[in-house]
């Protein structure tokens, strides 16, 4: 599958997204689908050398009503700063969009958790139990973090359409031109603060077209969600 990315950057010939090797293609995608967004004064995310920290296969609770991600203690203590009152961590997704999560320690359960902001990411990325989130960090800049995800292989193909049940499936045509919906977009601003509800920059796997969120992950081939809602979230936290 080849996607012509109409972004400001030059699309190199090597930018074919590997459909196989789901296991370890996260870096690859990050580098390949990099955009030239700059923010935080750092380097463009597509040239940022990064170090993988850990993955987590999401549990039902991680994606459910509890609105929190339990961060396995070993990783939390190894990679993240001590969680204090109001600690907030910022993670850039594949497209450089920042996602801010409150990071806390719950003494009662002795767990480290991402709370505020997490559920937005879950919804935006349509994460489900069994999917994997992957955390990495800039090799050169302490405290610069990245987040990525992959949907699990055997996930149901059913798309949740919410109330607008009459949504069409959107066959993913080869060569569909990706508009600048995310990135230095024309019609939709990329948030400088919290992420936009419309979805994290999903490499070449997910984008917005004519009011539809279109997903074209490697295993799902192509799918469209009727969710036309675009919820802007102020970066309150």
């Amino acid at each position: 599958m080849y996607m012509d990315l109409s972004l400001g950057t030059t699309v190199e010939d090597t930018q074919e997204v590997q459909e196989e090797e789901q296991e370890d293609d996260l870096y690859q995608q990050q580098v390949l689908i990099g955009q030239d967004l700059q923010h935080g004064g750092g380097e463009p995310s597509h040239v940022m050398a990064r170090e993988h920290m850990f993955d987590k296969v999401l549990t039902p609770s991680d994606v459910g009503k509890l609105n929190r991600l339990v961060v396995p203690k070993q990783h939390a203590e190894r990679f993240f700063p001590a969680a204090g009152a109001g600690t907030q961590l910022c993670f850039e997704d594949r497209g450089g969009v920042p996602w801010r999560f409150r990071y806390s320690y719950w003494g009662s359960s002795q767990s480290y958790v991402m709370t505020k902001g997490w559920s937005r990411f879950v919804r935006a990325a349509r994460l489900a139990a069994g999917d994997t989130v992957s955390f990495s960090r800039a090799a050169a800049a302490a405290g610069r973090y990245f987040i990525d995800y992959r949907h699990c292989q055997h996930r149901s193909r059913d798309i949740s359409f919410g109330d607008a049940a009459a949504a069409p499936a959107w066959p993913m045509a080869v060569g569909v031109q990706r508009t600048a919906a995310w990135g230095k977009g024309a019609t939709m601003a990329v948030p400088a603060g919290d992420g936009v509800e419309a979805g994290p920059t999903g490499g070449a796997r997910s984008f917005r077209l004519f009011g539809f969120n279109v997903e074209c992950s490697g295993d799902d081939a192509a799918a469209a969600s009727a969710s036309a809602e675009v919820e802007y979230v102020d970066g309150d936290s």
Copy 2:
């Protein structure tokens, strides 16, 4: 039935546990089986003059998954301090072991409840619906509370063994020597903070022997549970 209490204290001849008169032997047991544990700077519990406050026959909810005891409003407002954020009440059982319960007012249901810590007590005392808990307080010291319980007369004799279904019934032999499992125990420390999972000091009715919690209440005569777990709980809240 005579039980030789191998505690540090002198066992007086009057320490025969009455097997009859289940109804009103709570105080008696308290006095009879008193240990000389001292804590909280108060007097030894076996000589503490006390005033009965109220009893409650436990409902299924009081002993179920809700992990809370509804305290009848009239008694709550009469006997307990106003429930504020994080209010915690401490109740000593027959043996002077303190049990700390969070005490709250739930505006939604307009009820006073004991929450955190309550389920531990329920398990330890093997309370079931229909059993009665009895609350009293020190006559001379405001804010010093005591808790006791009695199993209901017509309770099922079935013992819940959890997964370890092969637990033997433990015929209560007359003269079984009570080890110092609770109290100023040799092998098991009595917690200064929250109660030990192994059970409230149940007069001469319940003790730990060779890894079994042995119960010898008047009506159940004798029973053993295979629950060998001893859970230490930090008094964090």
